[in-house]
């Protein structure tokens, strides 16, 4: 097991290198630093001197991949690629275009993101499993059929509609909670209720329909027939035999996205003005701040890979077939 995890981590390194080369290519080869400087400076200041100055002040005045003027190792390290990409491996994200420390910003914005994402995930999981089990329990009946149709309708609605509709109805018409914003301390609760609620509701359709297929798949297995032949009650069959097995794909499906919760939700955070990493990303995109976007790409990749490794570990915990073979 330990060897397996080591191998997975080792396997992650070429992936991270690949991601870095890809983003580097997107940012610096297709768009040369000159292009970037022109874009940032706007049309009026575009003189060669101004471009050089901008490049020097933002660290883009070096060669892309290989510095022929430098000596020894510096040939490789004194380049844009090394400065901007390789340092990411040490989680040294550098400074954003407006001069802020990206690592500091990320650490500050992580908590608000999690304050929304974790409650939404946990409540959503419970709600979805409950609905899915209800539909599976009444499989083939009117309850199940109408439940599935309701799910399809719910998942056909745009996520933005849930947000805008929720804000309008609950916050503006009924004035139950603030429309948007965020505060630290005990006030947090006031601000996160609505985003969490909307996060849960917008996920019900696809979530419970998806989980329902897990339950139905298990319900058709031979060992469920064995359980019935033992004389167990239908609820015992559902909770003890079906749920136990259906939880394996559900739990591993949750674990893989667990690390990505740090990244926050783009839509929710931006609509509710939550100072999390999601809105940070959107701001960076809108300001065309490549340094921040690149940092977020790297962070997201790392978290995704962590998720994959966590899934493998989770399997060995929840599934005896994997644990013991």
């Amino acid at each position: 097991m330990f060897a397996y995890i080591i191998r997975r981590i080792a396997y992650a390194i070429p992936i991270l290198i690949g991601v870095n080369i890809l983003t580097f290519y997107l940012f610096f080869v297709v768009n040369s630093p000159d292009d970037m400087a022109r874009l940032h400076l706007g049309m009026k200041h575009v003189t060669p001197e101004a471009i050089e100055k901008w490049k020097a002040s933002h660290g883009y005045d070096k060669p892309l991949l290989l510095n022929k003027q430098a000596e020894g190792v510096e040939q490789l390290t004194d380049t844009i690629f090394f400065e901007k990409s390789v340092r990411l491996f040490a989680f040294d994200f550098g400074y954003s275009d407006d001069g802020r420390d990206i690592s500091y910003d990320i650490s500050q914005r992580m908590l608000p993101s999690l304050a929304i994402a974790i409650p939404a995930l946990i409540i959503g999981l419970m709600v979805n499993i409950t609905f899915a089990m209800l539909m599976a329990f009444f499989r083939g009946t009117y309850v199940d059929v109408s439940g599935v149709i309701l799910c399809v309708v719910l998942m056909s609605i745009s996520g933005m509609f849930y947000i805008i509709g929720g804000q309008y109805l609950l916050a503006k018409v009924f004035r139950l909670m603030p429309i948007s914003g965020f505060a630290a301390g005990i006030d947090t609760i006031k601000f996160i209720i609505l985003p969490v609620l909307i996060g849960v509701v917008s996920g019900i359709g696809s979530g419970s329909r998806w989980y329902r297929t897990f339950f139905l798949e298990e319900a058709g297995k031979d060992y469920i027939r064995t359980a019935r032949a033992k004389g167990l009650s239908e609820s015992l069959v559902l909770f003890r035999h079906i749920l136990r097995n259906a939880l394996i794909p559900i739990v591993t499906g949750v674990v893989v996205i667990l690390p990505l919760l740090f990244m926050g939700s783009l839509l929710t955070e931006s609509f509710f003005s939550i100072p999390g990493l999601g809105s940070y990303t959107i701001d960076a995109i809108n300001k065309q701040d490549f340094a921040v976007v690149r940092a977020m790409v790297f962070l997201g990749t790392v978290l995704y890979i962590v998720g994959l490794i966590l899934v493998d570990i989770t399997y060995t915990i929840v599934d005896p077939r994997v644990r013991l073979s």
Binding site: G18, M296, T301
Partner: protein, 469 residues
């Protein structure tokens, strides 16, 4: 003479249409392809969804026939100059909807603007009042009809026209079916009305009649009112929503078209060849998958923006520019979404290469290319199809989100995402400007719901696992 304009996306749309038509003809001779499709269309929900989808597709196709009108008063030496406005056949068909612009917001069916303006009267006094609209409700001033009565009259007329056309279609259909089955038209009519036919014609006709009702309502009402109001710059929201259909469909279909060759080729080859080829393919899709998709799209679109900004000479019209951006968006969405299908196909091919019929082919010395094309490909096509239809609705919804984030289609392009993006800030106004948002959501919801229902039926018909249930 008009100048036809074939945008990149238009070309691809027509290529796709051609592929679908060819496939339909091919599938007619193959019972194992025909049978599941027949199962799909036997379901009432699926049949109704298909009709709705086809209506969307029709609008999208009409909106993909582009051209430019010649400018009047052309230059000297017989040279014709063309307008920079690129129009589509759809624009011509809906005529006044496009041109009847107001100053700014107006509510659905309103006769006056939404905001007060200073109006100078003939006597020199100034008051703040709601000025009347330039193009809506003008006919009311000439006659003495009240607005509500007028709307009701026109609606009833539309309903009558729709029912009449529906009845005509029913009669025609029973005639055609009766001739094919060599029975009397009366018999066939009864079969259809009692829903005894194998294909649920009654449901299909009912859906068609409903759609016709919408068409007649548009003809009768939208020509004299802004049925869904106008937006900030006074454009008719109904027109904008209709124009956005093409964008939504393109995102949903072209993305798939772009990614399919990669996904199919790499997935099957990786699973069939195994070894280092498999390792490379797995590495590629794990790498692509591990980058947060929104960020990859954002990075690529930002890159494209810089490129366009630096090379303005390549694009003659704004439409061409936004078209390139749309195509690029499809490509980049395709790159981020092929990995899932590729992984599925790799797994299936790994399984299939051990299947006894493949082993049998190997033991006859059948060539690898033939094994892949004759044995593996046909047996994974159901996975491809299910993925394509399931992805469609997700992509339509994603367009709105991406446009909101600012990395979707070009801001000048008509799309539901841009409509939502432009209108959401107005939710803070008192009273609320709700119609732009609601129509965008409504159109999107209809398309996605129809697609979801249809794809469910397709999956049930093609997935061997669900078929047993």
């Amino acid at each position: 003479m008009i100048m036809p304009v074939i945008l990149w996306t238009d070309a691809l749309v027509f290529l796709l249409t051609l592929v679908v038509v060819v496939f339909v003809f091919y599938a007619r001779s193959k019972p194992h392809i025909r049978a599941p499709w027949q199962r799909v269309f036997r379901g009432r929900v699926a049949a109704a969804s298909a009709v709705v989808l086809l209506a969307f597709v029709l609008v999208g196709l009409l909106d993909s026939l582009h051209f430019r009108l010649p400018l009047e008063g052309n230059g000297h030496n017989g040279e014709i100059h063309y307008s920079v406005d690129v129009l589509s056949v759809f624009d011509v068909l809906v005529g006044p909807l496009r041109s009847q612009e107001e100053k700014t917001y107006s509510a659905p069916f309103a006769t006056h603007l939404f905001a007060k303006e200073s109006v100078e009267h003939a006597d020199g006094s100034k008051t703040r009042e709601f000025p009347p609209l330039a193009h809506a409700g003008r006919h009311l001033q000439k006659s003495s009809t009240v607005k509500h009565v007028d709307i009701l009259q026109r609606s009833l007329a539309s309903l009558f026209e729709a029912l009449l056309t529906g009845a005509l279609m029913l009669w025609l259909l029973s005639g055609v079916l009766a001739r094919r089955a060599a029975r009397s038209t009366r018999d066939m009519l009864r079969e259809i009305l009692l829903q005894r036919t194998v294909i649920p014609w009654r449901t299909i006709l009912a859906t068609l009649t409903l759609l016709l009702l919408l068409v007649f309502l548009s003809i009768n009402l939208a020509s004299v009112y802004h049925v869904l109001g106008t937006d900030k710059v006074g454009q008719d929201v109904y027109y904008l929503s209709l124009k956005s259909i093409r964008t939504g469909l393109l995102i949903g279909t072209l993305t798939t078209l772009v990614m399919l060759p990669f996904a199919i080729f790499m997935g099957i080859v990786a699973g069939y060849a195994r070894g280092w080829i498999d390792d490379v393919v797995q590495y590629i899709y794990t790498t692509l998958n591990s980058i947060p998709h929104v960020l990859l799209i954002a990075a690529s679109i930002l890159m494209l923006q810089v490129y366009i900004a630096n090379h303005p000479e390549l694009f003659e019209t704004t439409v061409e520019r936004s078209d390139i951006r749309l195509l690029f968006l499809c490509i980049i969405l395709g790159i981020t979404s092929w990995t899932g299908l590729c992984r599925l196909l790799r797994g299936e091919s790994l399984k299939l290469r051990e299947a006894e019929y493949i082993q049998a082919a190997v033991s006859f010395g059948v060539a690898h290319t033939r094994i892949i094309t004759r044995h593996i490909l046909p047996n994974v096509m159901h996975i491809v199809l299910i993925t394509v239809v399931l992805d469609f609705s997700g992509l339509v919804l994603a367009e709105a989100v991406l446009s909101y984030v600012g990395v979707g289609v070009d801001p000048t392009m008509n799309s539901w995402g841009n409509m939502i993006n432009g209108a959401r800030l107005e939710m803070a106004r008192e009273p609320v400007v709700w119609w732009s948002l609601l129509s965008a959501f409504l159109f999107m919801f209809t398309l996605v719901l129809a697609a979801n229902l249809f794809s469910d039926a397709v999956r049930d018909a093609f997935d061997p696992r669900t078929r047993e249930r």
